[in-house]
Symmetry: C2
Subunit: 367 residues, 2 copies
DNA sequence: CTGAAAGCGCTTACAG
DNA sequence: CTGAAAGCGCTTACAG
C-alpha cells in the first residue's frame, strides 16, 4: 500500500516535467538511446534514423527541456559566470556589466549578478563556490583580499575590473586613461588654452584608490608640453560613499566649492577645466555659470567617462571616453580563456585604451 | 588494469573538490551522517555532538562547499530567477534590474541576467526552461506571446514589467503614472501656468505600445481643471529603436523640431512644457534656449522618470519620479509568492504609484 | 545515533 | 544499433 502512491506521485511529477526516462518509457527504449539522440551523438552511435525521428518527436510533444542543472552536475561544468558588483547604480559599472553579459552569451555562458557590500562579501563568495561558477568578475569597493583567498583555495578564476589588485594574483582589466588625457590636453592646447586647471577627487575606501592616475596623467601631459600648472591649479572634490541615493558618490557642493577656488585663483582664472569625471564636469559647468561665465565662450570644460548625461546636457560635454563595455567583454574573454588549456595564469593587467570626443563644452580660449 | 587508473583519477578529482563522500571517507562515517550534520538536521537525528564537531571541522579543513547545483537537481528547486531584458542600456530598465536583484537576494534567490532581441528570444526562453529557473521577469520590446506560451507549457511563472501584456495571462507590474501627471499639472498650475503643452512620442514596436497613457493623463488633468489644450499643443518626437548607440531611442532632432513647433504655435507660445520623459525634456530645454528663451524664467519644462541626468543638468530638472527600483522589487515579490501556496494565479496588473520632484526647470509663469 | 538503499536527471563507457 | 550498469553530488526515508 505504501509503494503504490509514491510511484503514482512520482509518475505525476514526471508527467508534469518530462525527463529522459519519460521519453524512453514512452517509446519502449532505453535512456541511453534517448540521450544519444538528444545530445547529437546519433550518427556516431549509428542510431536508426527512424528511432531518432521518434525520439525527437516525442520530446517535442511532451515538452521536454533537458535539465541543465543535472547536466552540470554530471559534467562538472556550469557555464555560469558570476558578476560581483558593489554598486550597480553607477552608470559606468552597469555598462561594464552589459558588456560582460553580451560576451558571456556569445560564448555560451550565462551571467549571474551578485551584489555585495562589506557585510555580504564573504557570503556571496561562498555562494559563488556553491553554485560552482566557472569564474567570477568583480568590481567591489571593499578590500577584495578575502575574495581572492577564497577563490584561490577553490581554484575559481577571478578577474577584477577597473580596480587595483592588492597582491600579484589574478587578472585585472582596466582602462588606460593615458590616451584620453593626452587627447584632452592636446585638444585644449590646440584651441589655444594655456591655463588649464584640473578638478580631481579625494576619495579612498579601505585603502583601495579609485582610478587615481588621471590627475597624474594630466600633470604629465602638461609637463610634456612645457605648460605650467601653478600650485592650486589642481582642486579636489570630496566624494561621498556610493549608494542608491548618491549613485556616483557625488557631493555637488564640494564640486562647486572646488570649482570656485579655481575660478578665483590668485594666479589668474584658468581658461579651461579638465575634470576627472563627467559628473564633476557637469556640476563644474553649473558653478561656472553661477560665477557669470559662459561655457565654452569664457571657459572650456572637459570631462571623463562619457556617461549618458554628457550628451543630454546643454552644452553637450566634451569628454574622454572610457571603454566600459569593452572592459566587461574583455573580462569575460579572460575568464573563458582561463577555462581552456592555453590559459596564462600569471597575474597581470589587461589595459584597454580610452578615447576622446569633442562636443560643445570646449571652444577656443578667450583672447 | 583498467579499473585502477579510473579510480585513481576519480580520487584525484575528489581531492581537488571535496564532496560529502570525501568527508565521510575521511572520518569513516556514512554519507547520510555527514549530510545530516551539514544540513542542520543533527539535533533532529540525534547525532553525537562529537561527531558533529568532527564533520564540521573536516569540512572546513578540506574546503568543502556543498554543490548547489546537485542540491537543486535533487530538490527540483533552483532558487534562481531570470531577468529577460531587451535593452539593459536604458537607465530606467537598469534600475528595475537593480531593484529585482536586491529583492531576490533578500529572499534567498539568485538573479540571472538574459539579454534578448528578436532573434534570440526563443533561444533564451528555452534556456530558462533548461536552467529550471524558478521564475522569469521580462521587459522586452518584442511581442512576448511566444514567451508566454512556452512558459505556460512549462509552468514557469512570468512577471512582465512596465509593459502591456497581450492577453490575460500572468502578472504585470507597472507604474501608475496618474499621480505624477496630476502632481506635475498641479505644480505648474500653482505657479500660474495656463498654457501648458505636452511633448509626447510616436513609437510602437510590433504592436506593443510603450507607456502611452501619459499623454492621455495629461489631457485628463487639464480637462479636470477646465484648462484648454489647443489643437497642436501636443507635439510628438519620433523615437528610434533602442540600442547600444541610442540607449534611449532618442532622436534629438525630432525632439527639437517638436519643441519648435510648440514654441511657434499660432495659438501663442506655451508657458510650460510637460514632456513624456526626461531625455525629451532635457533636449527640449536646449531647443528653448536656442530659440532665445530662458528656462525657467520664460518657459518651464517638466520631465518624467527622474533619470540621473535630471540632477546633473543645469537647470536641474523638475520631473515625475517613476518607481523603477520598486517595480523590480515588486516583480520579484510576485514571483516568490508564485512559488508558495497562497499564490493568486489570476492574470492581473500590480500598479505602483509615481512621484514628483520639483527642481529648477520650473518656475512662475511669465506675466 | 548510524548505515545501506533508493533516487533526482543526466550521461558515458562497455557489452552484446 | 541498443540496453544494463555505473556514476556526478546530494538527500531522504527506512532499518537497525
Amino acid at each position: 500500500m505504501t509503494g503504490k502512491p509514491i510511484t503514482e506521485a512520482r509518475k505525476e511529477a514526471r508527467a508534469a516535467r518530462p525527463t529522459v526516462t519519460t521519453i524512453a518509457e514512452h517509446l519502449g527504449l532505453s535512456r541511453s538511446t534517448v540521450t544519444g539522440v538528444l545530445t547529437g551523438r546519433a550518427a556516431e552511435l549509428r542510431i536508426r534514423p527512424e528511432t531518432q525521428r521518434r525520439v525527437l518527436e516525442v520530446a517535442q510533444e511532451l515538452g521536454y527541456h533537458p535539465n541543465a542543472l543535472a547536466r552540470s552536475v554530471r559534467s562538472g561544468k556550469s557555464h555560469m559566470i558570476g558578476y560581483l558588483v558593489n554598486d550597480p547604480h553607477y552608470e559606468p559599472y552597469w555598462n561594464t556589466i552589459i558588456g560582460a553579459l553580451a560576451e558571456a552569451e556569445a560564448s555560451g555562458f550565462t551571467l549571474k549578478l551578485l551584489s555585495v557590500d562589506s557585510r555580504t562579501l564573504g557570503q556571496r563568495v561562498e555562494q559563488c563556490m556553491q553554485l560552482r561558477l566557472a569564474g567570477v568578475i568583480a568590481r567591489v569597493t571593499q578590500d577584495p583580499r578575502s575574495l581572492f583567498e577564497a577563490a584561490d583555495r577553490a581554484a575559481l578564476p577571478v578577474v577584477m575590473v577597473d580596480q587595483d589588485v592588492p597582491r600579484p594574483f589574478g587578472v585585472r582589466v582596466a582602462a588606460d586613461d593615458s590616451f584620453g588625457c593626452r587627447a584632452a590636453v592636446s585638444h585644449l592646447v590646440g584651441l589655444g588654452h594655456r591655463r588649464i586647471a584640473f578638478l580631481s577627487h579625494g576619495f579612498d575606501a579601505a585603502g583601495i584608490t579609485l582610478i587615481p592616475e588621471r590627475e597624474r596623467l594630466f600633470l604629465e601631459e602638461m609637463a610634456a608640453r612645457g605648460l605650467e600648472v601653478p600650485p592650486g591649479y589642481v582642486a579636489r572634490e570630496t566624494m561621498l560613499v556610493y549608494g542608491p541615493e548618491t549613485a556616483d558618490g557625488l557631493d555637488p557642493s564640494t564640486v562647486a566649492a572646488a570649482t570656485d577656488s579655481l575660478l578665483s585663483h590668485p594666479a589668474g582664472r584658468p581658461t579651461a577645466l579638465f575634470c576627472w569625471r563627467d559628473e564633476t564636469a557637469l556640476i563644474a559647468i553649473r558653478a561656472c555659470r553661477r560665477a557669470g561665465l559662459r561655457v565654452p565662450e569664457d571657459i572650456s570644460v572637459v570631462g571623463f567617462s562619457d556617461i549618458r548625461a554628457a550628451q543630454l546636457s546643454d552644452p553637450t560635454l566634451t569628454t574622454c571616453r572610457s571603454p566600459w563595455e569593452e572592459m566587461g567583454r574583455t573580462a569575460v574573454r579572460q575568464l573563458v580563456q582561463a577555462l581552456e588549456a592555453d590559459f596564462d595564469p600569471s597575474p597581470r593587467t589587461v589595459l584597454l585604451p580610452s578615447g576622446f570626443v569633442a562636443r560643445e563644452s570646449s571652444g577656443p580660449a578667450p583672447a
